[in-house]
């Protein structure tokens, strides 16, 4: 299969969906040519589809999302770009009180077919306002879908699915993945992946590592290390959609391994990992020998200094350590 970069895969998804459906419109800051987006994901779109369907906006995040909501509920299918996940705070009312609730409040009269693309995350010394992973904010809000792919094929197939979805989607692109290359099906295949469905990225019988977005690569590395150093076979479940999340895949894996680590780059306290861990406990109460651990960032804003950032944000070694902890607590190690 051909191999392309994450940013190219995402760009292909936008091109294909805009060609397929004339109602798809894209707007955000610096997205039009010649800039083509701060991270070049929208490069070429404005040249092919013109200024009515692809618009640069002023720095007006509340209005970008608000206008996307308005367009979505009246017949367009907007893909709004917010340059950094950190800036979603400015648009919070439109996301939380408007986009997420309009279908429900209207008694089902209307849907909100809207995608908010954003990117960011730690790892580049971007400091406290450009490196946050805030998926937990949105996971707390019924009505939103949060999609966080970990590789080019999923990125493309899930972005296409998000654009076709009749629900508001927050589509997060971890910055550290843009230059990652991976197998991606040819455009003619029109490959889609279902929103709300996790993927077993690596099979194993001893412990389940549940993760998503940038952390998936680290979990796969951790699994290799556990195999090589401890003979432990870790199963990696890439959640892909963080809300609503795929309980059945996670529970099925857990039923097999009876041990789990949930790992994310977001702050551990109040993170989505807590929700998953608690749910698995509740569902598996009648099993006695269950062990669950969590990996997440320390309870701190992201520091600027690279050595401090890596002390706060978790990596492969933290997943390995947590897995060993969980297995030794369970007396299996």
């Amino acid at each position: 299969m051909r191999q392309i970069l994450m940013r190219e895969a995402l760009r292909e998804a936008l091109f294909e969906e805009m060609r397929r459906d004339p109602r798809v419109v894209v707007f955000g800051e610096d997205i039009a040519d010649p800039m083509g987006g701060s991270y070049k994901v929208t490069l070429g779109l404005s040249t092919e589809f013109g200024a009515v369907r692809v618009r640069n906006t002023p720095i007006s995040e509340a209005a970008i999302v608000g206008a996307a909501v308005g367009a979505a509920i009246t017949g367009a299918r907007p893909v709004a770009e917010i340059m950094y996940m950190d800036f979603l705070g400015i648009a919070m009312d439109q996301i939380v009180n408007q986009a997420a609730k309009i279908r429900f409040m209207s008694g089902g009269q209307v849907s909100v077919p809207l995608v908010i693309r954003c990117q960011g995350g730690p790892g580049r010394a971007s400091a406290a306002q450009h490196a946050q992973m805030l998926e937990a904010w949105f996971a707390h809000v019924p009505g939103l879908q949060i999609v966080m792919p970990s590789n080019p094929a999923d990125g493309k197939a899930l972005l296409k699915a998000a654009i076709r979805s009749d629900n508001p989607v927050i589509f997060f692109e971890y910055n550290g993945l843009y230059n990652v290359r991976g197998d991606v099906p040819e455009p003619e295949e029109d490959a889609l992946e279902p929103i709300g469905k996790a993927k077993v990225a690596r099979e194993g019988k001893d412990i389940t590592l549940v993760t998503w977005s940038g952390m998936t690569r680290m979990a796969l590395q951790a699994a290799e290390q556990l195999q090589a150093e401890d003979g432990v076979q870790a199963e990696v479940v890439d959640l892909r959609t963080v809300s609503p999340w795929d309980k059945s895949t996670v529970l099925a894996s857990f039923a097999k391994t009876r041990a789990m680590v949930v790992a994310h780059q977001a702050v551990r306290q109040g993170g989505v990992g807590a929700e998953i861990a608690a749910t698995v406990y509740e569902e598996m109460l009648d099993l006695v020998d269950v062990e669950i651990g969590r990996v997440g960032a320390k309870f701190s804003p992201t520091p600027f200094a690279p050595e401090l950032e890596s002390a706060v944000v978790p990596g492969t070694a933290d997943i390995v350590r947590a897995a060993r902890d969980v297995l030794s607590r369970g007396g299996r190690f």
Partner: protein, 325 residues
């Protein structure tokens, strides 16, 4: 000519040289790959913070944006500790926790550079509230770009300052681009004109003319100190570099950048000084001294200790004493 006295101009010129020298050195270091994070250069815009800060006391406050090196240097920061911060050393202004985009020193009234466009505007309004409450004569200046004026924070921040006649001066550095987006695309009206919507004075000046900025800021700061309320000053200027160091700036033509380079704010002051009795040789000496200052500051800044990972989560909270015993 402007209201400025001749003997005041030389130190202001030196401040402009220092901003240019700092940015030049920082850019070079960033291009060498030794500075982490992002870097935004303000070369070309030096006259604005220098002309404004000339009217500010140490206990006046400023809020800044991502392009803040000039603002904070003009308000009194020392390049050595700035470089230390850019290098993420513990000797930096923020102990390596903030970097270029969040550099702060509350002892100098520098509330900080900011990574969120527009965020500093209502924060300056809030500083105005505290001055009013405490009955001081302090003022707050908010620096922001043409891009920030299209944010809700700008609108709400100016309106509040206006209705409460707060001692705030809003200084827009209109460099005609917000990243790649031209100012003329992003709004149908000029920036100074917006002041009318809030019922406050709005003035537009040549932001590359130190004397014009100086005069406009003088009037606005005096008005604020007298309790007469805020002013919006639009300073038209240009950033010579890309949006960030490394941005090739494909959205601007070479001709446009060249034309603005010809309007360089520094030579204008240079020739004024020569006409007023300062010799070219003295100015050359000053320039060399500033270059030397920046080289040494960068060297010393880099020599500071790296932060201890054990201390990574210091200062998330202030100590709470009884309440959090």
């Amino acid at each position: 000519m402007a209201t400025i006295k001749a003997d005041k101009v030389l130190p202001l010129y030196r401040d402009m040289l220092r901003i240019r020298g700092f940015e030049g050195k920082a850019t070079k270091l960033y291009e060498q790959g030794v500075l982490p994070g992002f870097l935004h250069s303000s070369v070309g815009q030096e006259a604005v913070p220098v002309g404004v800060s000339a009217h500010l006391d140490k206990d006046d406050y400023i809020t800044s944006n991502h392009r803040g090196h000039g603002h904070v240097l003009a308000k009194g920061m020392e390049p050595e500790r700035m470089f230390a911060e850019l290098y993420a050393r513990t000797t930096g202004y923020n102990s390596g926790r903030g970097g270029s985009m969040h550099i702060m020193d509350f002892s100098l009234g520098i509330v900080g550079a900011n990574g969120i466009v527009g965020a500093g505007v209502p924060i300056a309004t809030g500083a105005g509230i505290s001055f009013q409450v405490n009955g001081t004569k302090q003022v707050a200046v908010s620096y922001f770009g043409d891009g920030a004026v299209n944010s809700g924070a700008f609108h709400e921040g100016l309106n509040l300052a206006a209705i409460w006649s707060l001692p705030v001066v809003f200084v827009c550095e209109n460099n005609f681009y917000a990243e790649s987006v031209p100012q003329s695309y992003a709004a149908k009206v000029g920036i100074a004109e917006r002041a009318a919507a809030y019922g406050i004075p709005g003035v537009r000046v040549d932001g590359n003319d130190l004397f014009a900025v100086y005069d406009a800021a003088k009037a606005a700061v005096a008005r604020a100190r007298k309790g007469e309320g805020p002013t919006l000053i639009e300073c038209q200027t240009f950033r010579w570099s890309g949006h960030f160091v490394g941005d090739p700036g494909v959205y601007r033509t070479k001709e446009e950048v060249e034309a603005w380079r010809l309007k360089d704010p520094l030579p204008r002051v240079h020739s004024w000084l020569e006409q007023h009795g300062v010799t070219a040789a003295d100015l050359d000496t000053m320039e060399a001294a500033v270059a030397d200052e920046m080289d040494r500051a960068a060297e010393r800044g880099a020599a500071g200790p790296r932060p201890d990972p054990q201390a990574a989560t210091d200062n998330v909270y202030a100590p709470e004493g009884v309440a959090r015993a």
